[in-house]
């Protein structure tokens, strides 16, 4: 059975496709690698597979899509054992744990464009991010019906791009990955968790949408241990 045909019709209408094709044509400059990790019995993996194939197609080769089963290496690295997980960028600096549907849709498209251009678009304060001496993970926990969430995710994604590999931005969809939401006792979104990767330590930074400057400062402070 071909999943592509099963969903294609409902994921994106012809008008949506035309809109996205034009957006990608106008705004994407370079190429961007996107990797989708899937697993057996995963509810949204097929949908994501179809969606990303369509987006890759609309990007006229600028999205370099690979789709693979989540292997042991990734399971250990990401501390996850199921999909869908989407990794964007040469350093896989942008991660979507769970599918970017609902309100997240528009910010996901925006992220693809930014990552292809390696342009973060932060207004200010971005220089500090290049010289971080530790790796930081920004986890933004979201639900598909939260209109504030995509703004928080886009902010974190911009920070990841600006950091040139030091910051990983991970958008976690709470319904598909309740174990992650539970780990941080999240019952309201967006919740932003900041973690230093080694030695591992993490904590909830804020519930709600921070200002750009606040989030950048929190990232630099997390590294300097202030």
């Amino acid at each position: 059975m071909s999943h592509e045909h099963e969903h294609e019709h409902e994921i994106l209408s012809e008008e949506d496709k035309a809109f996205i094709r034009e957006k990608f044509e106008k705004e994407m400059i370079g190429t961007v690698p996107i990797k989708l990790l899937v697993s057996d019995g995963c509810e949204y993996c097929h949908l994501m597979e179809d969606l990303l194939r369509i987006l890759a197609d609309l990007s006229n080769g600028k999205i370099q899509l690979t789709i693979e089963e989540i292997n042991e290496e990734y399971k250990n690295k990401l501390k996850l054992d199921k999909g869908p997980v989407i990794l964007i960028g040469e350093n896989e600096e942008i991660q979507y744990t769970g599918s970017p549907l609902g309100e997240e849709g528009w910010a996901f498209l925006e992220t693809i464009v930014l990552a292809s251009n390696k342009k973060h678009g932060l207004e200010d304060h971005a220089d500090k991010l290049k010289n971080l001496n530790k790796k930081v993970r920004i986890e933004t926990i979201v639900t598909p019906s939260c209109p504030y969430c995509p703004h928080a995710v886009l902010m974190a994604n911009r920070i990841a791009i600006a950091s040139e590999g030091k910051v990983v931005s991970d958008c976690v969809e709470a319904y598909e990955f309740p174990e992650i939401a539970d780990k941080w006792n999240v019952t309201a979104v967006p919740t932003i968790v900041l973690s230093i990767e080694e030695p591992y330590s993490g904590q909830v930074f804020v519930v709600g949408l921070p200002r750009e400057k606040q989030l950048i400062e929190a990232v630099t402070k997390a590294v300097s241990g202030e």
Binding site: L12, G102, W106, T143, P147, A188
Partner: protein, 344 residues
């Protein structure tokens, strides 16, 4: 960066977006600044059943239509960007945000209102750990669980109605013995099988460990304190206007903090207007929209010196009707499509 424009609108709820549609169509360069999400409170309203033309429409859907409309008319939208200071008294108004400075001939304040907090022990501690102020965003964390909605107005009841579809049991905690909400909403809620009203009751504290576990309540009639087990608390006990910045800049507000305006939506400062929930009164979308239209017209008069005496060179009002048509289609399509639709 400093940007010069005709009009700055502060807040992107229904009032702000409407004001933008009007000032843009009147040919004024319009910048709208929104700190959180366009649509304001409508973006998080489960459904709207009293905005003419729509028997029932989800808040997020109405929001998308407002945004498309404002964008098509050429409003320059800055989101997320937060206004942090204002200088309004001079001829050129200055609006300082966390990112830029804007200079404008007129400012329209449509900053709306925020939920009032309960101000009880535990509320701060458990914010985001069981205490929530947005049922649309957070409702599904409580699937199959027990929650309490505190409040008895339209907001409380429409959020409670949304939650009844998800939770096992819902307490509605209200300090009076009847809901203040529209009858159409009230009856539906009280008829829901999983709803337990607790009348004449107020919250005294929120208790828990890593997350919320219990509410400490006081029965006002019996003057007794008792506890109920809950997994979540949704707070909807009323509103406080977002008028602090305006007041600091010299805009007069009433004793509750609502901005004082006249029938032209003028504040006490020339060239400064306010509309929507921030001015109090009947806090509804239709009212916000209507007041915003008046504010936009007044701002236009102020900037141009009237319809005939156009002091300033205004950009030609050019509306691309072809673009409009495709946008209209796109909106229709969006209702059907799933990428931007909710999974739940």
């Amino acid at each position: 960066m400093t940007v010069r424009t005709h009009v700055v609108i502060i807040g992107g709820g229904p009032a702000g977006l409407t004001a933008g549609i009007y000032t843009s169509r009147l040919g004024l360069d319009t910048i709208l600044i929104e700190k959180a999400t366009l649509g304001g409170q409508v973006a998080i309203s489960p459904f709207i059943e009293n905005y003419p033309g729509f028997v029932s429409i989800p808040g997020p859907e109405l929001t998308k239509r407002f945004i498309e409309h404002a964008e098509t008319m050429g409003v320059q939208i800055k989101v997320p960007e937060t206004v942090i200071d204002l200088e309004l008294k001079g001829e050129v108004k200055k609006v300082y945000t966390d990112k830029n400075t804007y200079e404008a001939d007129a400012v329209i304040i449509t900053t709306g209102a925020s939920r009032r907090k309960l101000n009880v022990p535990g509320e701060k501690e458990f914010a985001g750990k069981g205490v929530s102020y947005c049922a649309v965003c957070d409702g599904a964390f409580f699937k199959g669980k027990t929650v309490a909605v505190v409040g008895g107005g339209n907001t409380a009841v429409s959020e409670a109605l949304h939650l009844t579809q998800l939770v096992r049991k819902l307490y509605i905690v209200h300090r009076r013995d009847d809901l203040r909400a529209e009858v159409a909403l009230k009856q539906r809620l009280l008829d829901s099988p999983n709803v337990v009203p607790l009348w004449n009751t107020i919250v005294e504290a929120i208790k828990g460990d890593t997350v919320v576990r219990k509410l400490v309540l006081r029965d006002l009639k019996k003057d007794e304190v008792f506890e109920i087990d809950v997994d979540g608390v949704f707070v909807a006990i009323g509103y406080a206007p977002n008028s602090q910045l305006a007041a600091k800049a010299g805009v007069l507000v009433d004793e509750k903090g609502y901005i004082i305006v006249n029938r032209k939506q003028e504040t006490n400062i020339k060239g400064v207007y306010a509309a929507g929930d921030v001015t109090g009164g009947v806090m509804q979308i239709g009212v916000a929209v209507g007041e915003a239209i008046v504010a936009a017209m007044s701002a236009f008069e102020h900037v141009t010196g009237g319809w005939y005496a156009k002091k300033k060179a205004l950009k030609a009002v050019k509306i691309d009707f072809e673009k409009l048509k495709t946008k209209e289609k796109a909106i229709e399509e969006k209702e059907k499509k799933s990428l931007f639709k909710f999974k739940l």
